[in-house]
Every structure is written in structure tokens, then in C-alpha cells.
Amino acid sequence: MQVILMKGQMQTVVILIIAMIILYGFLQYIFIVQEEAVFRSAVLNAIQVSNIINILQSSPNDAFQIYTLPAADCVLEITESYINFTLGKQSYRRDFIQTSTKIKETKIECRKPEKTRSVLCITKKNGVITAKELLDTCW
């Protein structure tokens, strides 16, 4: 009777240990996937903003484009030759085409209360491309 009881307890302990190992493995995987997803999102956002700037460079003056940033802690840094998009701990840099159009250096932090999304307005005026947060209108 005692042997059967011990055997039952051992079985439970072993199954619990295995379950914990599986859980740990799954959690690790989830963290890896989350970080990868955050990085991919940074890549996509950087590419999309640089695409907008590249197209605006060949557009006529007074052209503009509105872009919605993700509802997360992010920093968009635009320099005269590249964009750096930081999302959480991940960041991605993307170059854009250099033409006679000037690009105004700017840094936009998209930390919003209650996870609302920041909206970006990218405009071309007098040969200068400017990105700023949309408050009321683009102009």
C-alpha cells in the first residue's frame, strides 16, 4: 500500500516537473516571439516613414501624408539622411534618398496616455520636408 502511494506521489512530482519545463519552454518562446514582433514592427514603421519621405521628395510643394504611429512607447528620429525608429528596446535605422529637397531634423516621442495613437503629419513646403505630430491640421 505504502509502495503504491509512493509510486503515485513520484509520478505526480515527475509529471509536475515535466509540465513546468514545458511551461518554461513556452514562456521563453513567447518572449522571443514578442521581441521579434516588436523588432519587425520597428522595421516596418521605419520603412513606411522613409517611403513616404522618398515619395514626397519627388512630389510638388504642399503635398502631405498622414501616418499613424503604433500605440506603444516609440521614438521616431529623423535626421538629414536617415530615420531611426525605436520601439521598446528595439530600434531600426533606414536611409532615404538624398535629393535637393531638405529634410528637417526632428525627434518625435509617441508616448501617449491611455495608449492612444500619435498621428504624424509629413509635409513638403518650399522644398523642405517636415514631420510633426498632427494636433489640429497639417498646416
Binding site: 515535466i18 519552454g25 520603412i47 539622411s81
Partner: protein, 295 residues
């Protein structure tokens, strides 16, 4: 006193239960390992057609550039001005170079980045860029119909992403931003390099770089600069110290290629760069120095 038969029966039952338990544990563990393996070995991959979109964006910018009289109508005189030059006028992308070929019924113009300029002295002048491990990354060609001074023409815009384009971009950013810039590069192993043909799809750390006139030229470290494969990209107005990395490694290693803008005009050894000679936001950049650092 327990009868002998009962004792044997109990021992047999205990043995079979133990064997059953061990088999159960082994099976569960095996199942767990297999499930974990499948989960951990899978990784999400995102394919972004960035070469296609970059080619389109460069073409859009060229179509509305001073190379044209009106949208997509190229000017004969402007094309003559840049014909045969490796400058990438009016729509220069930092890390991707372009080459434009325009062919009308009358003549053909080519301008922009020229790949495969060098030859292999060992193979009697046969171009060997693919075997040099200088880092060939991506290439994409966009072909479309256009117009030169009212006459129909065919346009072929090829964009190149290579080690050289990333290195010139690194130098350009360090110069313009007046701050240290870095990229990850791969130091190819000797074994990897001897497996020919074998193109490296990463920015290489093993190359020689020299500025010739206003062009930045990359060469193969196993040959002298004059005789090795040379590929050049125009980078006017920026002084760069010559760079040569000929180190041999046993295993392919990730390293950091760092561009440091200095106040001085004299090339400086990487080990002797102190903070007081690194250019800041208010300083004029004299020269950009390339250094390799371990990751």
C-alpha cells in the same frame, strides 16, 4: 507468514508497475522535448521587398529631377553631361547605389554606379567579383519606357546593395552627423573563402579601402590595391583614411565596423584615438577613420 506465491506475485506486479512508470515518464519527456523543439526552432520571418520599392522611389525622383525637362522626359544635354560618370546625380540613396541606362533609337547613355570594375589577375583578366567575398548583397533592375527630348527611349534602372555601398554610407553618416557610426560586418573564415564560388550576402570586414580622387574604392585584401578587384563609388568632399583588414580567422565572426569622424586632417591609428580628437557637433570634420571592433 506470507505464502511464497503471493510474494512473487507482488514482486512481479511492482516490477511491471515500475517499468510502466518509466515508460510513461520517458514518453511524456520525449513528447515535451519534441513539442518544445518545434516551437523553439520556428521563427517568424518577414519578407520586405525593399529593393523593389527603393528602385521605384529612385525612379520617381529621377523622373522629376533636373535630368528631365518635364516628368519622365529626359534632357539630351543633361544625359550627355553625366554620361559615363559614376556619380549618382539628383537621387542618391545612402546605402544603395544606382545605375541608369537610357537607350533611344539614336544612342545610349549610362551613368551612375559601375559594378565589377576590377579583374582577377590570377584568372587572366576575368571579372571575379562574385568570388571575392567583398559582400554582394542585393541587386534589382527596373525597366520602363521613357522619353529623351520627345523621342521614345527605354530605361533600365539597376540598384545595388553591396559592402561598398554600406561602407560609404557609414562614412557619409559619420561625416554628416559628426558622431561615431557603426554597422555589423562579417569576418569571413579562411575555409569559407576558399570555397569558390561563394558570394557573401553580408557586409564584409575583410577588405581594403582607398580614396581615389573623389571616389571611394574597395579592393580585395589578398592582392595589392592596384591589381585587385576594384569597385568605386563617388563620395566627394569627404576625407577618409585608407583602410586595410587582412586578418585571417578560423570561424566566421561578427564584428563592428565603426566610422569615427576626427577633427584632425591626418589619418590616425585606431588604437590612439582619444576623445579630444573626435569631432563633435560644433567641430569641422577633418577625416573619417574606419576601425574594427569585436561584437
Amino acid at each position: 507468514m506470507i505464502p511464497a506465491g503471493d510474494n512473487v506475485q507482488e514482486q512481479k506486479s511492482f516490477l511491471s508497475n515500475t517499468v510502466y512508470l518509466v515508460i510513461q515518464i520517458v514518453l511524456i519527456t520525449l513528447f515535451a522535448v519534441i513539442v518544445l523543439y518545434f516551437f523553439i526552432s520556428s521563427k517568424p520571418v518577414l519578407f520586405i521587398k525593399h529593393m523593389e520599392s527603393t528602385a521605384l522611389e529612385i525612379s520617381e525622383n529621377l523622373f522629376s529631377s533636373p535630368l528631365t525637362k518635364e516628368w519622365a522626359v529626359f534632357s539630351f544635354s543633361q544625359l550627355n553631361r553625366y554620361h559615363g560618370k559614376i556619380d549618382e546625380p539628383y537621387a542618391r540613396h545612402c546605402s544603395i547605389a544606382y545605375r541608369l541606362e537610357i537607350e533611344s533609337d539614336i544612342r545610349k547613355w549610362t551613368l551612375g554606379f559601375e559594378p565589377n570594375r576590377g579583374v582577377n589577375p590570377a584568372t587572366g583578366g576575368t571579372p571575379f567579383f562574385g568570388e571575392t567575398h567583398l559582400g554582394f548583397l542585393n541587386e534589382y533592375t527596373l525597366s520602363t519606357a521613357s522619353n529623351v527630348d520627345g523621342k521614345p527611349a527605354r530605361i533600365s534602372l539597376t540598384i545595388y546593395e553591396r559592402s561598398l555601398t554600406h561602407i560609404t554610407c557609414l562614412i557619409e553618416n559619420a561625416y554628416k552627423m559628426k558622431s561615431k557610426q557603426q554597422i555589423t560586418c562579417k569576418m569571413p573564415s579562411k575555409g569559407y573563402r576558399t570555397q569558390l564560388p561563394n558570394e557573401m550576402k553580408e557586409v564584409t570586414c575583410r577588405f581594403i579601402l582607398e580614396k581615389i580622387g573623389s571616389d571611394m574604392c574597395i579592393g580585395h585584401p589578398d592582392f595589392s590595391f592596384e591589381e585587385s578587384t576594384i569597385e568605386c563609388r563617388s563620395l566627394p568632399g569627404i576625407n577618409v583614411a585608407s583602410f586595410a583588414e587582412k586578418e585571417e580567422v578560423d570561424v566566421i565572426t561578427d564584428m563592428k565596423l565603426v566610422a569615427i569622424p576626427l577633427k584632425t586632417f591626418a589619418p590616425t591609428d585606431c588604437s590612439s584615438i582619444s576623445d579630444d580628437i573626435i569631432a563633435g557637433k560644433d567641430d569641422e570634420v577633418g577625416i573619417v577613420v574606419l576601425c574594427l571592433e569585436r561584437e
